[in-house]
Amino acid sequence: MAYLLMWVVRLLVGAVARYVNTQPYQGQCIYFANHTSHVDTLALWSALPSDLRRQTRPVAAADYWGKTALRRHIALDGLNAVLIDRTRATPDADPLAPLKSALAAGDSLIIFPEGTRTAQPLPSEFKSGLFRLAEAFPGVALIPVYLDNLHRSMPKGSFVPVPLICTVRFGAPLARIDGESKEDFLVRARQAVVDLAA
């Protein structure tokens, strides 16, 4: 199932990996990327080398991916995704709890810190989730990723991806700065993704 999806994604959008002045990062990490289309998760996941792909879990919205049996099957059994609750039905619960337990278990994660898709090539402001995960897991590397061309392949509101050769650009791990404020960190993290777009 996962392999079938991966080959369909490669046929449609290429999903070619480019490492910008860096090598594939071998240890545990959080990949954070701009979010423009429904195929983003699959494209990034398909671009990873297969040994790293096995230990990497995408983070997906429970309100979308948990909705129908097929989506649940693709997300949970195909991609081994971590579902996250965006609705906050129970205000006291920590929405990041499933992510933290995945990181504690040693998995790598794929997250889209904007929280939702944007129609623009460049990402909008990042939400604070990335900062809180970085704070809680200082040993986990933060890898910026820029997904190029996917906003053209599948603009918001469309259901069929137009075949294009999209590149997935991986950057070097984001440097950790002690005592950095949340705002500064999020601006710097977003800039790391934007820099890969050039």
């Binding site: 061309n149 053209r152 603009p155 469309s158 069929v160 137009v162 075949p163 050769i165």
Partner: protein, 313 residues
């Protein structure tokens, strides 16, 4: 001689050429030491390896039959169109037109060849596609660069679907006293086009002095064009017995293929450069993308197809 025997002979000729090329490549690999020469030899050997792969794929498609050949060319059109659209700046408003081009026009165009429906094959894209694609783009009310965007999509569709599909369209021609052998014409076309490309490159590297079009295609030389073209025409003439042509007609046909192919290479290089790229893609090692290999075919195929159809059916 029947089609199968001719096909076997033809394969033997092609394999022979490739074996000789591979041996020369291997010798050069051990002999050439200089920095620049080394890069040329590595590139040459990568091209020869890719040729073996392409010949294998074509041989299997021919052997399996016309449907396999059509599917193969449909896939080539798909990859070529994907490369073209990747380099073309489109806007979200073009999404519907592009989806139609990929998922409806490619299968439909090859289906018309499969059922040998000549009029629909020759009219669908230049007439109905021409009118339909911009109509779809107007639905989103985005007028910014509308004419440029529409023109680019039309060009992409004409080159990558219509022109490339003219090559396997040779299969639907019914030529008197040549029944069931039209696959050989397709092989003939591809062999002459690619041989001309390769020999232009080789002769150009060996004897090239005068640049043909330095701005568009820095590696093309006048000497390469004339020398490589003449070799391709000579081979094309000597293969008259696999075609329905007389030796003289075969010379004329291969000259037309060589001329159209050379123009195709130049025009598509110019298009590529106006889109700001050097290669169409990175799919085939040593060759760039699919369109870097198919550029000459896309011009030679429709010309050859219509010449054969006019004079021989």
């Amino acid at each position: 001689m029947n089609a199968n025997t001719k096909f076997m002979y033809l394969m033997a000729v092609v394999m022979g050429i490739l074996v000789v090329a591979s041996i020369i490549g291997a010798i050069l690999h051990t002999r050439v030491k200089g920095e620049g020469g080394r890069a040329v030899v590595l590139n040459l050997n990568a091209r020869i390896r890719a040729w073996w792969g392409m010949i294998a794929i074509f041989a299997v498609a021919f052997w399996v039959g016309p449907i396999a050949t059509l599917v193969l060319f449909a896939i080539v059109s798909f990859f070529a169109l994907r490369e073209f659209v990747t380099l073309t700046p489109t806007r979200p408003g073009d999404h519907r037109a592009l989806a139609v081009a990929f998922f409806i026009m490619i299968p439909l165009q090859y289906y018309t060849i499969g059922i040998a429906y000549y009029s629909l094959f020759s009219l669908m894209i230049p007439v109905y596609g021409f009118l339909l694609l911009p109509s779809l783009s107007t639905l989103t009310q985005d007028t910014q660069h509308f004419l440029e965007r529409s023109a680019k999509i039309q060009w992409a569709v004409m080159i990558t679907i219509y022109c490339i599909s003219s090559a396997p369209a040779l299969l639907m021609l019914k030529i008197p006293d040549y029944e069931g052998q039209s696959a050989l014409l397709l092989f003939y076309l591809l062999l002459i086009v690619q041989l001309s490309d390769v020999m232009q490159y080789v002769v150009g590297k060996l004897f090239g002095k005068t640049k043909l079009a330095p701005v568009i295609s820095p590696s093309k030389t006048v000497e390469g064009l004339i020398g490589g073209g003449l070799i391709a025409v000579a081979v094309g003439t000597s293969l008259w017995w696999i075609t329905p042509f007389s030796p003289l007609a075969a010379a004329g046909m291969s000259a037309a293929i060589v001329a159209a192919g050379a123009l195709g290479g130049l025009v598509l290089s110019a298009v590529k450069r106006s889109l700001g790229a050097k290669d169409w893609g990175t799919m085939i090692e040593g060759h760039g993308g699919t369109l870097d290999r198919m550029d000459s075919v896309s011009f030679a195929a429709p010309v050859f197809f219509h010449l054969v159809r006019y004079f021989y059916t």
